[in-house]
Assembly symmetry: D2
Homo-oligomer: 140 residues x 4
């Protein structure tokens, strides 16, 4: 299986399509069925106490599987999240950016399934785990 | 089972503890093991195309089970989300607020489990479904 | 929305298609987007200690959403489970049959989503909760 | 982190505690926070059509995380499954045994979280993915 989008194309696509969040996310690495994405943590992502909020980790997982899928099927797709399951396992490190490691487990005609581990940069124990299903519209 | 917090106490607690999001959420109704909460949809909650974003629905589900749990155990708790599963079933109606209907299915000493249906106001077909587990710290 | 299969037709369908487990399950009630199903608990369903095993509760949830879906789309379908999430909340009562209450939350052309509460007969606190997604093959 | 049970001890533990299913499962490999387990597929595991049933894959995932956890905390534990999420991604190969690859992502005092990929032997594309949470009783 081959990539249909490069690292630069993925970052450019995100800047164009999601300008309001594109400063938050940066694709660090992409390979067939894999992607590594950083979330630049900012005050707006924090809960009282200084750790990254649940919705922010959800957003990182969602973007990560979405971009890993687009890297394989190309930028025209309008995949829609249909299911997510997440486990929150540790408090993210205060002040550290987050990094997601995504692998696509299935890339079918109708459904794509990926899983994600989320880390605080500088710590190799995952803070959260997610698995997500995307529905891929026909005729793309 | 009896409520330990009234509707007004829940809304006041949210304003105090989460001032940055308390304008977004309003507890409309609370009963033993149940809560109804409105999300006042705003530009910041929208995706391109005008529908409410996934992370926003996640945040609504998370707040809903959290507040339904606090209503039963009182405001001192520091419950932590450990697991969530969500199904996104329909596009939310553009321009409509969201309403969540939450029921607690288990309220143990260590874990609370709740499920949530999310609706666009004015439509009785759910746009999303969530189930969540909260870990309740000992000694509370 | 209208039923395409009656209670008797659902039970007959199960006997014909799944003879090896049809003694285990009995559809007690069916209505548009709802079904109530009993699991007749037997030694083979038990874990050491006498409570119903996890795989047995999984099977009950799976059958329940499947039959609730067939009731709406008719007996020719070959729907396939694509996702399940379950919370196990209480030990089932030793010696009691299980009863599932299923509601379909979405019945689309491609995906059906349902959720299930499982009870030990004689106790109104749920022992488990499940949500499931079925993929409906095209052209049915 | 160190193992508290060897491969042989895990297999012996399973034979003793779960005699009714111990022929089905065999621990092939164990390492800190990892385990590889085989399901010897038999007629009783099959659905009409000859593929392994959902409840059977559930049972494999459940046993896998359970044994990976016991390997780390020792055989006295009575861990209880509290949550599972599974994605079924491909039909298992007809006639092939299944193999699970499990990694523990968190081993806390109260909760353990693991994820599992399930393969048909001879094919490196996962047929299913699971993540599971176990509650570890206090005082163990």
């Amino acid at each position: 299986m081959q990539l249909k989008m490069t690292l630069d194309e993925l970052n450019a696509f995100m800047n164009e399509q999601f300008p309001q969040v594109s400063d938050d996310f940066e694709v660090l690495d992409v390979a067939p069925m894999h992607a590594t994405i950083r979330l630049n943590v900012d005050d707006k992502h924090l809960r009282p106490g200084g750790t990254v909020s649940g919705p922010t980790m959800f957003a990182l997982a969602d973007v990560s599987v979405y971009l890993a899928t687009l890297a394989m099927i190309g930028p025209k797709a309008l995949a829609v999240t249909t299911n997510i399951s997440m486990d929150f396992m540790r408090k993210p490190t205060s002040g550290a950016n987050l990094r997601s490691e995504t692998r696509l487990l299935k890339l079918g005609k109708v459904l794509a399934v990926g899983d994600v581990l989320i880390f605080s940069e500088g710590d190799d124990r995952p803070v959260a785990r997610a698995s997500m299903t995307y529905s891929i519209p026909p005729g793309q």
